[in-house]
């Protein structure tokens, strides 16, 4: 057991990078807790290093040589005297062994118990656990453990097609295959196992019925070590591409008070089934008829936690820290009120005009949207270099409005204000989405972006810009021609001016 002294920790090591590391440092600072950043060689100039009280190098840029090196992280914890670790999301956040090792070393892990991480980490085991607690799951294989191809082929028809093969150790769509009929299943099983094996070192898979037209809706829960568990309402996360969430909102247009209460209670029950402590998220699929099914539990802070903060007023990271310090929850379920509507757009360094290809480079200019109802969580700034080593998400743009309509209008305004020069971003994707009638009407499911959305959908609205684009390109081309001519003329006197041409060209590359 951790001692009382450890629970009153004074210095938190943030075992992460980017916007979430900055977010955690902010919460610690506001609570008067010291912060220790860790960084890879690619991140010396990163914002979390600039903002933390202390900062230590972990190793080279690749994650496995830096942010995944738990041994190095524990070394830094010892050297700096950090008495707690916040893992953020990704990296080591859902590694049972990491949480257990913290406990062994007498360091407070700001998150759930290792046993809860383990119980929810194996997707098959998690299903079995919540079924026992009376939580509805997507119909599928209910046995825990290694099932052979023969078992799975035998069970499949009783689940019904289409169905999904999923990796038990899974996440992020890896080791997942959609199966339309029995004939193709054998081949797909093999490839799913291969991918799962290479991604997670575990080729074990299970089957789930494919719910068509489903929405991805999740509930934020908070649990303290005194057995109090509450939920903070839902987040709608159906806007996805290749199983990556792109936009989240709270509340969901699809959920009424009655369904919210019902699903919220089930979410609380799911957390209780694994003796959950700290912040966590229960993900559900909800079908067209409002039947809902437990999908999985994320035993950590979510990327999209801010939309819940905006509508409830609860600072989830501050609450995580309080819980880890052994305090009671600051709220009872009755005190949680959903006020207004919030939307988050994930701003990724990728080119929506070129197959969402990741984009790297130095951010030379950046203008953040600000003003009423706008929040930006980011780890980048002008002058910062986006490297290919980490997740392409560089910022989260979050808005609040009194209604969903007002939030959409505000998001449009904020997206238009947001300027980033130096890397391509998916801002134009979000702008197109905000103009889409289906999105405005709330008519979407998890397949919407891939199957029924196109960047060209709303383009006719903006044909007037064609002429403006032509004029701008002409003016810039003309200016450059003039400038080059001047430089050539000046150059006849002074060779050294070529470096200025070079600068101009670099700027415009």
């Amino acid at each position: 057991m951790t001692t009382k002294k450890t629970l009153m920790f004074k210095k938190v090591l943030v075992a992460n990078r980017g916007e979430i590391a900055v977010r955690i440092i902010r919460a610690c600072r506001e609570l008067g807790i010291g912060t220790v950043a860790v960084f890879s060689e690619a991140d010396r100039h990163a914002l979390h290093v600039r903002y933390a009280d202390e900062a230590y190098l972990l190793g080279p840029a690749p994650s496995r040589e830096s942010y995944l090196r738990s041994d190095k992280i524990f070394e830094v914890a010892e050297k700096s005297g950090a008495d707690a670790i916040h893992p953020g999301y990704g990296f080591l956040a859902e590694r049972e062994d990491f949480a257990a090792k913290c406990e062994d070393l007498g360091i407070t892990f700001i998150g759930p118990k290792p046993s809860s991480i383990a119980a929810m980490g194996d997707k098959g085991k998690a299903r079995a656990t919540v079924i026992k607690a009376g939580v509805p799951v997507v119909p599928g294989t209910e046995d825990v453990g290694n099932m052979t191809d023969a078992d799975l082929l035998r069970i499949a028809p009783s689940i019904g097609f289409p169905l999904l093969i999923k990796a038990t150790a899974g996440g992020g769509g890896k080791g997942m295959r959609e199966v339309k009929n029995l004939d193709e299943m054998q081949t797909l099983l093999a490839s799913a196992r291969r991918e799962a094996e290479s991604s997670f070192g575990d080729g074990n898979v299970y089957l789930e019925k494919l719910i068509e037209g489903a929405r991805h809706i999740e509930f934020q829960i908070l649990a303290d070590s005194f057995g109090n568990v509450i939920h903070l309402g839902e987040r709608e996360c159906s806007i996805q591409r290749r199983h990556q969430k792109l936009l989240e909102e709270s509340p969901s247009i699809f959920i009424d008070d009655e369904l919210r209460e019902k699903m919220g209670n089930i979410a609380v029950k799911s957390a209780q089934a694994v003796d959950y402590v700290n912040a966590g998220t229960i993900e559900f699929l909800v079908d067209k008829d409002r039947n809902f099914y437990f999908l999985e539990m994320n035993t950590r802070l979510q990327v999209e936690h801010p939309v819940t903060e905006m509508v409830t007023g609860v600072d989830i990271v501050a609450e995580q820290i309080r819980i880890a310090r052994g305090r009671q929850l600051s709220y009872t379920q009755n005190q949680i009120k959903i006020n207004g509507h919030s939307i988050e757009c994930r701003i990724n360094a990728e080119d929506p005009f070129n197959g969402f290809m990741p984009s790297t480079g130095r951010i030379t200019h950046s203008l953040l949207p600000t003003g009423p109802g706008v929040r930006v969580d980011t780890g980048v700034y002008p002058g910062f270099e986006i490297t290919p080593f980490y997740d392409p998400m560089i910022a989260k743009l979050i808005v609040w409005g009194e209604t969903r309509a007002q939030a959409i209008l505000r998001m449009r305004r904020a997206l238009e204000e947001y300027r980033i020069v130096g890397v391509r971003t998916n801002i134009p994707f979000h702008q197109t989405l905000m103009d889409s009638h289906r999105f405005m009407g709330g008519q979407f499911d998890t397949r919407f972006v891939e199957e029924r959305f196109s960047m060209e959908d709303v383009m006719e609205v903006r044909t007037i810009d064609t002429e403006i684009a032509a004029i701008l390109a002409t003016l810039v081309a003309h200016q450059q021609t003039e400038r080059n001519a001047n430089i050539v003329r000046r150059n006849e006197r002074d060779t050294s001016n070529w470096k200025w041409v070079g600068r101009w060209e670099r700027m415009h590359r």
Binding site: A349, E350, F353, G355, M357, P358, S359, T360, T364, H365, P388, F389, Y390, D391, P392, L415, E416, R419, V421, I427, P428, Q431, T432, M459, R462, D465, T466, E467, I468, A469, A470, I471, L472, A473, T474, L475, V476, A477, H478, T481, M507, H508, R509
Partner: protein, 164 residues
Amino acid sequence: MKYITTIGGKGFEIEIVDEEHILIGTQLYEVDFKSVSGQPVFSLILNGKSHEAFVYQGEEDWEVLIRGRQYQVKVEDEREKRLKTAGGGDITDGEFHLKAPMPGLVVVVMIEEGQEVKKGQVMLILESMKMQNELKSPRDGIMGRVRVKAGESVEQRQTLLSVQ
């Protein structure tokens, strides 16, 4: 100076009259055109309407990103254009070299040398930023030299393969 500017097949005749005026066809416009804080971001006030765009040179044409839409714009000065047309017909596109848009790991190469490819066909998958990215052929053609193989790490702008 007079320019012929083309976007998606549509042509505009734009004449730069002086620092503050342009002619489009026979229509005179008042322009107030400034670069914003030394960046390739341009503010244009055209007859009172305020526009802002990110304008930069792409592989071949100018790229203009304005209010969430990207345009490929070809700007030719009138003389240049006339000479080219007089020269007779299109210049053939020549060989296309696919360069790595970012450092990464080649996951799979999906084509072979000498094979026919269609525009938009996936030729190679490159892993970077924890994502698998499909690199497609920009046009129909025949595969030339393939310079990388699966499992290989590549640098940014390294030539991966050629389409003839």
